[in-house]
Symmetry: C2
Subunit: 357 residues, 2 copies
């Protein structure tokens, strides 16, 4: 059965990096029998350029119909002056919400070949492999009421609502336990239950779901402490599960621990396992169009797609092994280059991975 | 004119570390003519034990009357089972709010003598000296509506409100500019203006206040990026100003960059400069009563008090110099001890600082 993959190049370096993902997918199709069809559509600034909004109706319809989605990146200075609702980020937030992609997997892995890129000492981060699971369709990102209003006394105030229902908490916490079951069986739920009622409910639900997973050790940590522990001793974590905003902050900090965010993929899944896959880095407008961007996070996002949505574990492992081999060969894009390695561009890196399949 | 200092030992290691602060203040009084009177009152778990609530009325009255407040730390496992409103943290949040201590200064300084304690590479953190200014009486910490409720369809939901008025934003941002003026004149305002309306208002107000401080370079950064940049290249920052929750998370991450949170003081100031001073570390119940806690963050909190509230810059500098000298002598409490240094307890460290005045 052929599966449909929708490719959303987006803005900035997006088109360049997804071109390498397309090359990879076609190679898996031609040489290793992967049964996929690829289609492309605009999103973000490109969506605005093509159809006047960051998530064009046609893109959304294609996304609903697709089995899996691969996104490059959105955003760029050209679109900074647009009204709030037309900004590239709104397209990203809208597709997450419309497709109910509530489960955001953000691995933070330190590749041994790139260990020296980290700002942290080797003994602190060597062998780092943690998974941050971020809730992606709730909390302050989507909570209402929200806005800027003028009070009766003439004073303006801005407000947003952090809100989670029990079922919303339950499904993401359950995803956390499921992931922990496939890893080291340690799940750390991060909240701010000493201050926020929404976190108290979160903690209560996490405790309840824990009863279904007696083999997993559940711990709780306040978000401020989690930020400290990620810097102090990140290897203490296996899987972290947390709400949208905390996950935004902590997953970026965790990613940066590795020193090579050009290497990190992510997955955003719905309840059925359908997902959108994207590199965690942004659209990098400063280097867009130069052919120097690192495509590996995007290729590793393809690997995640093969594993989590397409159920092609062997193909996923094949891609990951090829990336490892290319790193072993000493090929590096500019962002991860160090003395003694060979500096290559986006395309050469993509071709090398395909050659190493 | 004699100034009144209220000492709130609190829980855990609180009493031990503030005892050294009392020793220090008495020495400054007896030997260097500092005109202060000291008084003591319970807060946190100790407040609950003494008067049935974490911020006893008498403690609050004394706090209102005092010129400055020194707090040890609050919290401990003995109080974990108490109802929400009786928990030690509530006492801390209540005193911040009651005294309108909206301006929370959290320096993150790496002491050269302790450079090796950091999890980060020396070239990344050597010489680190940043100031994080956290808004302390607004945002989700105090915003209403808040609670846990059952919807009509029977589903429970937890919710909190992130809310800031223009005047609240203005005064904290202005504090940020004032602090930046006395430092390297670079202020980074951290928000999530690409997602939250409350952040959009924050950014707008920051831009407006900036016009009054043409000598200060204002920049804006999204909170997720700020968390990354603190790990990647923390020395790029001079002063960071941000809202309550973001400040809670980022200031803890920044503190941990130094690797020695037993060294870091903080100040929480009202509009008139009156303030509460406390070490940023917690009550450390695991080592309470053993006489091994590091009192230096508390002694450096006294230095901040001398500088920011008592207007005794020379005395502040005297305390900081004494701490530096004691570190030069190789004295270390257990938390900052390394091979080749002399391990000392809380009291010996406190006495050494007094001797080095
Ligand atoms: C672009 C922005 C809205 C987005 C977010 O905050 O979710 C991004 O930071 C991310 O983490 O994917
Ligand atoms: C104890 C807790 C309520 C407090 C806070 O979140 O403000 C603490 O983490 C702090 O930063 O002083």
């Amino acid at each position: 059965m052929t599966q449909n993959i929708l490719i959303l190049p987006g803005d900035g370096i997006g088109p360049e990096i997804v071109a390498e993902a397309t090359r990879l997918l076609n190679a898996l199709k031609d040489r290793f029998g992967l049964a996929v069809e690829l289609e492309e559509a605009p999103i973000g600034g490109a969506g605005y350029d093509a159809a006047g909004k960051p998530l064009p109706d046609e893109t959304l319809a294609l996304a609903r119909a697709a089995d899996a989605i691969l996104l490059g990146a959105v955003g760029g200075p050209r679109y900074d002056q647009l009204a709030w609702e037309l900004r590239p980020e709104r397209g990203l937030l809208a597709i997450r919400s419309e497709l109910a992609l509530f489960s955001n997997l953000r691995p933070a892995i330190l590749y041994p070949q790139l260990a020296s890129a980290s700002a942290l000492k080797p003994e602190i981060v060597g062998g780092l492999d943690i998974m941050i699971l971020r809730e992606l369709t709730g909390g302050a990102y989507f909570g209402k009421p929200r806005g800027i209003q003028t009070r009766e006394d003439g004073v303006r105030e801005g407000f947003n609502t952090i809100i989670y229902s029990e079922p919303e908490i339950e499904r993401i916490v359950r995803s956390g336990f499921e992931i922990a079951m496939k890893r080291d069986r340690r799940l750390c739920s991060v909240d701010k239950a000493n201050v926020l009622e929404v976190s108290q409910l979160w903690r209560e639900v996490a405790e309840r779901v824990a009863k279904e997973y007696p083999e997993v050790a559940l711990s709780h940590m306040y978000v401020d402490n989690a930020a400290m522990q990620l810097v102090r001793a990140p290897k203490q974590f296996d899987v972290i599960v947390t709400e949208n905003m905390f996950g935004d902050i902590l997953s970026d900090a965790a990613a940066m621990l590795t020193g090579s965010i050009g290497m990190l993929p992510s997955a955003s899944l719905d309840a059925g396992g359908k997902g959108m896959y994207e590199p965690i880095h942004g659209s990098a407008p400063d280097i867009a169009g130069q052919g120097v961007a690192n495509p590996l996070a995007t290729l590793l996002s393809v690997a995640m797609m093969l594993r989590y949505t397409l159920n092609e574990e062997a193909q996923a492992a094949r891609v990951e092994a090829a990336v490892g081999r290319v790193l072993d060969q000493g090929l590096r894009t500019a962002d991860i280059w160090t003395e003694g390695c060979r500096k290559v561009g986006t395309r050469e890196m993509g071709e090398a991975v395909v050659a190493a399949l």
